[in-house]
């Protein structure tokens, strides 16, 4: 009978791992290019509504974000929707100074292109949103973007 296996010749060959770093670096660069840095820690829940007529926000440096929604820590802060600017809770009166500081941080030539992105939870009532919009009008920040995800609209199935 033929012998297929030889005694003692059964050493595992070493796998060459020299290209492993290259593969990992490739993954690293992929993620560095496709993702953006997280800027704020969210204190409010913003599960966005969905819409079909959406446009992409370009030039993130020209976009200021206003988050509105019920606080995540509802035991501490209650369930009433709150406004978040940067990394803290705020009130409607803070919006004017928020927009002003965002304007100061932008080159003068690009100020007309500044957009305010409203990230509002879908269950929020319009009252607080209307107040924010009125405040934005007062400080002439007229370009707004109602942040939504892509998808079917509520009520139309």
């Amino acid at each position: 009978m033929a012998r297929f296996r030889k005694e003692g010749g059964k050493k595992n060959p070493k796998i060459n791992t020299a290209s492993l770093p290259d593969i990992i670096f490739m993954l690293l660069f992929f993620f560095m290019v496709t993702t953006v840095m997280r800027e704020t820690t969210l204190f409010v829940r913003t599960s966005l509504p969905s819409a079909t007529e959406i446009q992409q926000l370009e030039r993130r440096s020209l976009v200021s974000f206003i988050y509105i929604g019920p606080p995540l820590q509802s035991q501490v802060f209650g369930t009433e929707p709150r406004i978040q600017l940067y990394d803290s809770f705020a009130t409607v009166d803070d919006i004017a100074s928020f927009i002003e500081s965002e304007r100061q941080a932008t080159a003068e030539a690009e100020r007309p292109l500044m957009t305010t992105s409203l990230k509002v939870d879908r269950d929020t009532r319009m009252g607080i949103v209307t107040d924010v919009k009125q405040e934005l009008r007062m400080v002439n920040a007229l370009r707004v973007n109602y942040s939504t995800t892509r998808g079917e609209v509520a009520g139309i199935r």
């Binding site: 670096f25 993702t35 109602y146 609209v153």
Partner: protein, 191 residues
């Protein structure tokens, strides 16, 4: 004989790369920001003279109440039919005297075009849910976009979003303006 350079051990290189990779995975987000772009009306100057009244037939009134119910042109409406009704209003295909006036305008690249003078007026209550508000905004925007697509197809053979030439885009924009106005807010529902 020259000394051989000792080989550098690159075994830990993968670990370093992994560390960096995980750092970036944790600190970054992948979401692309998308949404509905809108221009808010400029603040009202209290000293400015009253604007001339808009003729009744040119205004398409959409009201949303605190219970998320729709009122379209004075009768109960439905979100599923809102898009069609808004389109019909803006186009006014039968020249209905209750629907907007059309003004023949000379537009570059298109030529003479009947531009509708219709305005969609959207008013919501403070108690309206944000989801419903977005749904209504979306349907009205979709109505305008569909009309723009039709005009764009008819004159340039392409959908509006596929037009690359800035001049053609502006021509279609002039022919079909995005005439959605938000009325000054009111508080009726009190929630």
């Amino acid at each position: 004989m020259a000394r051989m350079t000792p080989e550098i051990n690159a075994g830990s290189m993968a670990d370093i790369a992994f560390l960096l990779l995980i750092f970036f995975l944790v600190t970054t987000t992948m979401d692309v920001d998308t949404g509905i772009n809108r221009m808010l009306p400029p603040p009202i100057d209290p000293n400015a003279p009253e604007p001339p009244p808009v003729r009744e037939r040119n205004v398409f009134v959409v009201l949303v109440d605190a219970q998320d119910r729709l009122m379209v042109e004075g009768e109960p409406g439905n979100i599923t039919t809102l898009r069609e009704r808004a389109k019909e209003f803006l186009l006014n295909p039968d020249d209905n005297p209750n629907m907007p006036v059309k003004e023949t305008t000379e537009i570059e690249h298109i030529g003479e075009f009947d531009v509708s003078r219709g305005i969609i007026s959207l008013q919501n209550d403070r108690g309206t849910s944000y989801e419903m508000y977005i749904a209504v905004q979306n349907e009205l925007a979709a109505a305008v976009r569909e009309i723009r697509d039709e005009v764009s197809r008819q004159y340039f053979g392409r959908r509006f979003s596929e037009l690359r030439d800035e001049e053609l885009v502006n021509a279609v924009r002039r022919a079909v303006p995005m005439a959605i106005s938000e009325a000054e807010p009111r508080d009726i529902g009190r929630r």
